[in-house]
C-alpha cells in the first residue's frame, strides 16, 4: 500500500511538471509595452521613427515642446535610447537652434542621423546621434535646402533623400545624397508650386494641420518619389533618381486631398493610402504608372470611416518566413492604433487594435532582429500628457497580427 502511495505521488508530481508551469518562461525582451513617462506637466513628446541598435536596444527619434527645451513655437528634436527590454537609458533634446526633426532615422556605417531645421536660417541640417557620448549635434549643413519636410534612406546605396520648401522660389525642393553625405545631383531639383504655401507648411510644422510629407523610392527601378506641394496641389510625384526630373505622379486637390502613405511593392504596384476632405482610403495593391499622371480621387480604395480625419498612416512591407506582407498602421477615432495586414494580392488578413482607455497614436513601426515587431506611438497618459510608447511584439505575436 505504502509503495503504491509513493508511485501515485511521484506520478502526480511528474504530471504537474509536464504542464504549463514548465513552459511559463519568456524572455522579457520578446514582448512588452513601455511608456517613457516623466512628471513634466507641460511637456509633449511626439515620436517620429525607431530603429534597432547593435545592442538590440532601440533608438527613437521624436520631437518635444517640453519645458526643458527652449521656449519657442517649433518642436525640438528629441532622441531617446532604450535597452532591449524597452527600459529607458538616456534621452537628449537637441540644442538651439535646431527644430522640426523629420522622419526618418538614417543609418550609415552603424551611426544614426536625422534631418532637422535651423530655426533662424531655415537650413536643413543632418544631425548625428553619437551613441557613445550620448550627444546630438549637427554633422552636415545643407544650405540649399530650406524648410526640410521629409527625409528617407535608400535601400539600394545607403544614400538618402531630403525634401524641403523654398519660400523664395515658391518651390518644393528635393535632393539626393550619397552615403558619404555628398550630393548625388549638381543641385537640388525644384518643383514649382506656383503659389505661396508657406502658411500651410508652418501650420504643418506647428502641428495645427499636419500634412503627409514623405519621400521614398521604387525598389526595382531608378525612380524616387516624394509627397509634397507641386503645381498648386499636394501631390505624389515620381522623379528620375539620376536627374531629379519629374516623370509622373498623382495629383491631389490643394491640401484637401492626396496620398497619405506609400510603399513600393514591385513593378508599377504600390501599397497606398489616400485622404480626401477628411475621409481615408486604403489601397493595399494599386497599379500606378510612374510615367503617367493621375488624380488621387480616381484611385478608389477601401474606405475606412473609423479612422481620424486625414489620418496619419504608415505603410511598410514585411518579409516573414519568405512571404511578403503589407502592414498599415494608423489612428482611429476611438483613440486607438489599428494595424491592418494584407497579403501580396491585397487581401485583408488581419487587424489588430492597440491602446485602450487613454488615447494612442501611431508614430512608426519596424520589424526587429528577433523576428518581432516594434510599434512606436504616443500615449496620452492620464488622458492628457503625450508620451512616447513602444509596443514590442514577439515573432509569434507578429504572426497573429498578420493572421498567419
Amino acid at each position: 500500500m505504502f509503495r503504491k502511495s509513493i508511485y501515485i505521488l511521484l506520478s502526480l508530481s511528474a504530471f504537474i511538471y509536464s504542464c504549463d508551469i514548465g513552459d511559463n518562461e519568456a524572455d522579457p525582451s520578446d514582448s512588452f509595452t513601455r511608456i517613457f513617462n516623466n512628471s513634466d506637466f507641460g511637456g509633449a513628446f511626439r515620436p517620429l521613427d525607431i530603429k534597432q541598435t547593435s545592442d538590440s536596444g532601440f533608438i527613437v527619434l521624436g520631437a518635444t515642446n517640453s519645458a526643458a527645451a527652449a521656449s519657442n513655437s517649433f518642436d525640438r528634436p528629441y532622441v531617446l535610447k532604450a535597452d532591449r527590454f524597452g527600459e529607458f537609458e538616456w534621452a537628449r533634446t537637441a540644442d538651439e537652434p535646431f527644430v522640426n526633426p523629420v522622419s526618418s532615422l538614417i543609418e550609415i556605417g552603424g551611426e544614426f542621423f536625422f534631418v532637422s531645421m535651423d530655426e533662424i536660417s531655415l537650413f536643413a541640417h543632418l544631425m548625428k546621434i553619437d551613441l557613445e557620448t550620448r550627444r546630438v549635434f549637427s554633422d552636415q549643413t545643407y544650405a540649399n535646402i530650406t524648410y526640410p519636410l521629409a527625409a528617407s534612406q535608400s535601400g539600394k546605396d545607403n544614400g538618402f533623400f531630403i525634401m524641403g520648401y523654398d519660400r523664395n522660389d515658391l518651390s518644393t525642393i528635393m535632393n539626393r545624397f550619397n552615403s558619404d553625405f555628398s550630393s548625388a545631383w549638381n543641385e537640388p531639383a525644384e518643383y514649382s508650386v506656383f503659389e505661396d504655401v508657406e502658411e500651410s507648411i508652418v501650420s504643418h510644422l506647428l502641428r495645427r494641420q499636419p500634412l503627409p510629407f514623405f519621400t521614398g523610392e521604387l525598389v526595382d527601378s531608378d525612380v524616387l518619389f516624394f509627397n509634397g506641394f507641386r503645381n498648386f496641389n499636394f501631390s505624389f510625384n515620381f522623379i528620375n533618381a539620376s536627374t531629379g526630373e519629374r516623370i509622373g505622379g498623382v495629383n491631389g486637390i490643394q491640401d484637401d486631398s492626396g496620398i497619405s502613405a506609400a510603399t513600393h511593392l514591385g513593378g508599377s504596384d504600390l501599397a497606398l493610402s489616400r485622404f480626401s476632405f477628411g475621409d481615408n482610403f486604403i489601397l493595399p495593391r494599386r497599379d500606378v504608372n510612374p510615367l503617367g499622371n493621375a488624380e488621387s480621387s480616381d484611385l478608389g480604395g477601401n474606405p475606412f470611416p473609423e479612422l481620424n480625419d486625414n489620418a496619419n498612416v504608415v505603410v511598410k512591407t514585411l518579409e516573414i518566413n519568405g512571404s511578403e506582407y503589407t502592414l498599415y498602421a494608423t489612428d482611429t477615432r476611438s483613440g486607438q492604433i489599428i494595424l491592418i495586414a494584407y497579403d501580396t494580392s491585397g487581401q485583408l488578413i488581419g487587424t489588430t487594435f492597440l491602446g485602450r482607455i487613454n488615447p494612442v497614436e501611431i508614430g512608426n513601426f519596424i520589424t526587429t532582429g528577433d523576428g518581432g515587431l516594434a510599434v512606436l506611438g504616443t500615449v496620452y497618459v492620464a488622458g492628457r500628457f503625450p508620451r512616447i510608447t513602444i509596443f514590442k511584439f514577439s515573432a509569434e505575436e507578429l504572426n497573429d497580427i498578420l493572421g498567419i
Binding site: 504549463d20 522579457p28 514582448s31 509595452t33 512628471s39 534621452a91 492597440l354 492620464a382
Partner: protein, 307 residues
C-alpha cells in the same frame, strides 16, 4: 523562485512526508487499518502575493526612481472562500492520506500612484492612485498525510469494539487533534481584476477630486492554468454520532509563478489604460475550514458495530 528549485522543494516535501510517516508507523508497529472517511468542508482564506520579479509599464525619463511608482502589496487583507469534499483513507491507525478537491477563491490587492506637476508652478499638479484587486478561482486538489492525536472523550464505553473505535477517534464524544502536511495542485477556473482609479486635479483652477472609476475585466490570459505548492496545518475534531466535525487552519505556500510571462503586456486596458503589468507572483494562503466527515466502512461493513 526558479522552476528547478520549485520542483526540488515540492518533491522533497512529498518524499520526506512519506518517509516520516512510514518510519513512524514502523517504529510504533501500529495496527493496520483500512477505514475510509468521506465528507465536505468549507471556509475562508486570506492571501499573500509575493512578487518574485517586478515589471513596469512606465520607464521614467526624468531620473525618478522606479520606486516612486512601485506596487504596494496589501497582503492578507481580502477574505476569500473555499468549499470542497474530503476523501480520506486511514491506512494505519490514526494515520490517513486525504484527498480534498476544493473550489478556492482568492483575493489580493496592490496599489500604484502617479503624479505630474508643472515645473514652473508645483502647486499645479495631477495625482492619480489605482487600487488593483485580483480575484482568482481555482479547483485545487490537496493531497495530505494526516496524523490524529486522540485527546479524550466525554462518554465511556466498554468492549473490544469500543476500544477499537476509540483508537480510531470515531467513538461518540471523542476529541481528536490532528496535524497534516502535503502538496496541492490547483487548476485556474477564472481570473478577474478590478481597478479603482482615484484622481485629484489641482491644475484646472482649484482642487477637484475626480470621479472614482471602477473597471473590471477577466484576466484569464494573464494567469497560467496551474498553481502548485505545499500545505501544512493543524486542526481539532469532535466525534458526534457517526460523524466527525473538525476545525482546521492550513498554510499554503505556492511554489510557482502564476503570471503568464508571455502574455504579461497583452491587455491594453491595463498597460496603456492604468499603466499596469503583473509581476511574477507566488500565492500563499492562510485558510480556515470547518469540515464534516463520516466513516464509510463504519456504515457499510459488518466489521464495525453501530453505536
Amino acid at each position: 523562485m526558479k522552476l528547478a528549485t520549485t520542483r526540488t522543494l515540492l518533491l522533497l516535501v512529498i518524499a520526506s512526508s512519506i518517509s516520516a510517516i512510514d518510519a513512524m508507523a514502523q517504529r510504533n508497529n501500529r495496527e493496520k487499518s483500512d477505514q475510509f472517511w468521506i465528507g465536505f468542508r468549507g471556509g475562508i482564506n486570506l492571501t499573500q502575493a509575493t512578487p518574485e520579479e517586478k515589471f513596469y509599464v512606465f520607464s521614467p525619463t526624468d531620473g525618478n526612481s522606479i520606486s516612486n511608482f512601485d506596487k504596494t502589496y496589501d497582503n492578507f487583507s481580502r477574505v476569500g472562500t473555499q468549499v470542497g469534499i474530503i476523501m480520506s483513507y486511514e491506512f494505519i491507525d490514526n494515520i490517513s492520506v486525504t484527498l480534498q478537491p476544493t473550489y478556492s477563491a482568492y483575493r489580493f490587492d496592490y496599489a500604484t500612484s502617479f503624479s505630474w506637476e508643472d515645473i514652473e508652478n508645483p502647486d499645479s499638479r495631477l495625482d492619480f492612485s489605482y487600487t488593483h484587486e485580483q480575484s482568482f478561482s481555482y479547483l485545487e486538489i490537496p493531497l495530505m498525510f494526516r496524523y490524529d492525536f486522540i485527546l479524550g472523550q466525554s462518554g465511556q464505553r466498554s468492549g473490544n469494539s469500543a476500544n477499537s473505535n476509540k483508537k480510531r477517534g470515531i467513538e461518540q464524544g471523542t476529541w481528536v487533534a490532528f496535524a497534516q502536511a502535503g502538496g496541492y495542485y490547483g487548476r485556474l477556473l477564472r481570473a478577474d481584476k478590478t481597478v479603482t482609479t482615484r484622481g485629484v486635479d489641482q491644475a484646472s483652477g482649484g482642487v477637484n477630486e475626480l470621479d472614482v472609476i471602477e473597471q473590471s475585466e477577466g484576466i484569464d490570459d494573464l494567469i497560467i492554468d496551474s498553481n502548485v505548492g505545499v500545505v501544512g496545518g493543524l486542526g481539532i475534531g469532535y466525534t458526534l454520532g457517526n460523524a466527525r466535525i473538525s476545525f482546521e487552519v492550513n498554510y499554503k505556500y505556492g511554489l510557482n509563478n502564476i503570471t503568464n510571462e508571455a502574455n504579461r503586456f497583452t491587455e491594453d486596458r491595463l498597460s496603456t489604460g492604468v499603466y499596469d503589468a503583473l509581476d511574477n507572483i507566488q500565492l500563499s494562503n492562510v485558510e480556515a475550514f470547518i469540515s464534516f466527515v463520516i466513516p464509510v466502512k463504519y456504515i457499510t461493513s459488518g466489521r464495525f458495530k453501530a453505536l
